[in-house]
């Protein structure tokens, strides 16, 4: 009986040059139905704690979700996961585009890569034909050229290619992967892991159909048509298509929490030049999309003016517009587009790159680094030319770029003094362009999230503030409460926990953040319909949330085994300090209140508030009691060694 997958994992050992296929059964897939859950399971089971992230022994997992490739809008995402070279924690990053669906059509749910090739290679997959091919001639070349070369070599223009650029080759700790030149697994340095394995690309061609593996194809096909018609009739999806994520610049600037100059300020005086209206006139040439998605939220750009920006690598999203814009004090949208093009060309995560450069700018302005260290770059906020030069240096690991390629946390340690105060990171990963002082639940996610600061762990508080709004109504089947965006406390912790499970579920099954309610137009009941049709399983909404929660617990367990505890679940001190300007000047997060809310969040999750270890009872409820068998000896050993002494003392008190 079909249940939404071919049940196959492709295993490739680059050291041994071996290729094998492994099968899993329906019982396994019920617990780990793809994406974050499948990747988390494999990493927890197979990667010894303490493995160097850039060593051949690290596992690099490419995992589709249950719905990846379904002919429904926003069902395109796949996960890339490994131990992160940026954080040392569980690392993962999702991307849309076309590669994940193509892998599904080729009949694989995941690829697990280990080892290191003797010389650069790429993997070619055409249904059951899988081979390692020589990539020596491709190493050092740019993604557009690499894509053309591989398609020419394989004699197939329709092959989908996931690859790294020189950022990954040079082991920049926040290097990304790109598929179809425009879609990125940006976060956690998965591109550096791929580079460390001498793996340049994975080219995939599949001739199957998603619906062939579905239990009942008709409801999925019907939902695909319904959503296709609804895109322009629903305000949120209309907005994503017409204005896209760059529309957030104006909203956040008006509200006073637009991350500006390394999170010092909430209003950027040059924001008018970065807004959606400017984007449309200065950059935009067309709208793009991912596989079978009618939302069409992607941006195509080209500039032939103050800067030359290629049309090959897609346009900047909000994170990038603001990251290289107000966050670096730059008000020239064309310079921002150029920075985006460079990052995409070199496969660098635009969030970590821009935030690390802003960190360096603040260090420069405080005299912690000078012209000698920057090689003559006047790295002040607002200097667009210096910002672009820094991107180039990072990608090549030249000069100051070699230090900044390590990420802001390591760079701060090397610079010393007060530099650590300017590194806006959690667990070593740089913060996205959302200020928790304006929406505190985002801060809970930054702190507690397993792979470091990320804005997609949960739903942002602003969508849930008004019980009559579209956003809140979309979320209401989940049983959340309408709460002010800046309010902490136990009710906020409860909202966060529920919505984290919902978002985590999306990352398991391959849904884009811009598909389901409350962020967008696919209603929660419709998601349930799609999952039931794909699998034939009689699942409830509670079951979907449990799938999400289970995946989070796997990642948490991975981190505990690698030495993480409560102290790493923290925010940069700056967020507990007042914003310097704008309508929210003086606003800060109360640290005691934040910590109390975190305490409540651990309680809701069934985790020890000091060690963050999930209780056996909670793991049993999630059907993963085997994880307790891994954790308990380690926790007991640490307690014996005294590393848990303070935690034990706190509990006794």
């Amino acid at each position: 009986m079909a249940y939404g997958t071919k049940g196959r994992i492709l295993r490739i050992d680059l050291t041994q040059e071996s290729i094998t296929i492994e099968s899993f059964d329906e019982k396994f897939y019920r617990l780990y139905p793809g994406g974050k859950a499948l990747a988390g399971y494999l990493l927890l089971r197979e990667l010894p704690p303490g493995t160097d992230a850039l060593a051949p022994e690290n596992l690099l997992v490419f995992a589709n979700g249950l719905l990846t490739g379904a002919p429904i809008s926003a069902s395109t995402r796949f996960t890339v996961a490994a131990r992160s070279p940026l954080t040392g924690a569980y690392g993962e990053s999702e991307a849309g585009g076309f590669w994940g669906p193509e892998l599904k059509m080729a009949g694989y749910e995941a690829i697990v890569v280990r080892g290191r090739a003797k010389q650069p290679v790429y993997i070619s997959i055409h249904d059951d034909k899988v081979e390692l091919r020589d990539a020596r001639e491709l190493w050092g070349r740019e993604p557009e050229e690499v894509q053309d070369s591989i398609r020419h070599e394989l004699g197939d223009k329709r092959v989908r290619i996931l690859q790294i650029g020189i950022g990954g080759e040079n082991l920049v700790r926040y290097a990304a992967l790109t598929n179809e030149l425009r879609h990125f697994n940006g976060r956690c340095g998965m591109g550096a892991v791929m580079g460390s394995k001498n793996l340049k690309a994975i080219a995939v061609r599949g001739t199957g159909r998603y619906l062939d593996s579905a239990h009942d194809a008709q409801p999925i096909a019907d939902l695909g048509r319904t959503l296709g018609k609804r895109v322009k009739e629903h305000p949120q999806s209309w907005d994503l298509q017409v204005k896209g994520t760059p529309a957030l610049v104006g909203a956040f600037n008006a509200a006073g929490f637009l991350p500006t100059r390394n999170f010092r300020q909430g209003v950027f005086e040059g924001a008018d030049n970065l807004k959606w209206e400017s984007y449309e006139t200065e950059l935009l040439t067309a709208r793009g999309t991912c596989y079978a998605c009618a939302v069409r939220c992607k941006r195509e750009v080209r500039v032939d003016d103050r800067y030359q920006v290629s049309d090959a690598y897609g346009g900047p999203e909000y994170e990038t517009v603001e990251g290289f814009g107000g966050y670096c004090g730059v008000d020239d949208l064309q310079a921002v587009a150029k920075a985006n093009e460079l990052c995409n060309r070199y496969t660098l995560d635009t969030i970590s790159t821009s935030v690390t450069i802003a960190f360096a700018m603040e260090c420069f302005e405080h005299g912690l680094i000078g012209l000698k260290e920057t090689g003559g770059l006047d790295l002040r906020f607002g200097n667009a030319a210096a910002m672009l030069a820094a991107v180039e240096l990072i990608a090549r690991r030249e000069g100051i770029g070699n230090l900044l390629a390590e990420g802001s946390k390591r760079a701060a340690q090397a610079i010393g003094g007060d530099a650590h105060l300017f590194a806006m990171q959690v667990k070593g990963q740089e913060l996205p362009m959302h200020d928790p002082r304006g929406k505190v639940g985002v801060g809970l996610g930054y702190a507690i999230g397993e792979h470091g600061a990320d804005h997609l762990y949960s739903i942002h508080d602003t969508l849930l503030a008004n019980p009559d709004s579209i956003g809140f109504k979309g979320a209401s089947p989940l049983g959340v409460e309408a709460l002010p965006a800046q309010q902490l406390g136990s009710a906020k912790a409860r909202n966060y926990a529920i919505l984290e499970n919902w978002c985590s579920f999306g990352q398991v099954v391959g849904l884009c953040y811009f598909g389901p309610a409350p962020r967008s137009f696919t209603q929660i009941e419709e998601v349930l319909t799609a999952v039931r049709a794909a699998t034939g399983w009689d699942l409830s909404l509670e079951d979907l949330l449990q799938i999400g929660e289970r995946a989070t617990n796997l990642a948490r367990a991975f981190n505990i085994l690698n030495g993480f505890s409560r102290k790493e679940d923290s925010l940069p001190e700056r967020l507990f300090q007042p914003l310097e300007n704008g309508p929210m000047a003086g606003t800060l997060i109360s640290k005691p209140e934040f910590e109390r809310t975190m305490d409540e969040l651990y309680r809701l999750k069934g985790w020890d508030p000091q060690t963050t270890v999930p209780t056996r009872a909670r793991l049993r409820a999630l059907d993963i009691e085997w994880v307790a068998e891994l954790l308990e000896p380690v926790v007991a050993q640490r307690a014996t060694q005294g590393t848990c002494a303070s935690a034990a003392g706190a509990r006794a008190a």
Binding site: P235, Q236, A254, H460, T462, L463, A465, I470
Partner: protein
Amino acid sequence: MELHLGSYLSWYLPDQPSSLAIHLDSPIALRELVERLKLPPAEIAIAAVNGILVSLQDAQVSDGDRVELHPPNGGG
């Protein structure tokens, strides 16, 4: 006055404009302007007049003002 409609607020108006020029003979309540335009108040999370955040319930707007309205925005 100049009215800017952020994100999906444009969707509620005919032709879905992102900005409008509106002539006002005399100051009116912002709430009344929103009602005239048939914008749903529940979808207005941020209101600013001349760069100053205001309450939708209390604010007055006049000809020559620059008014910005934005809906609740999520991540991404």
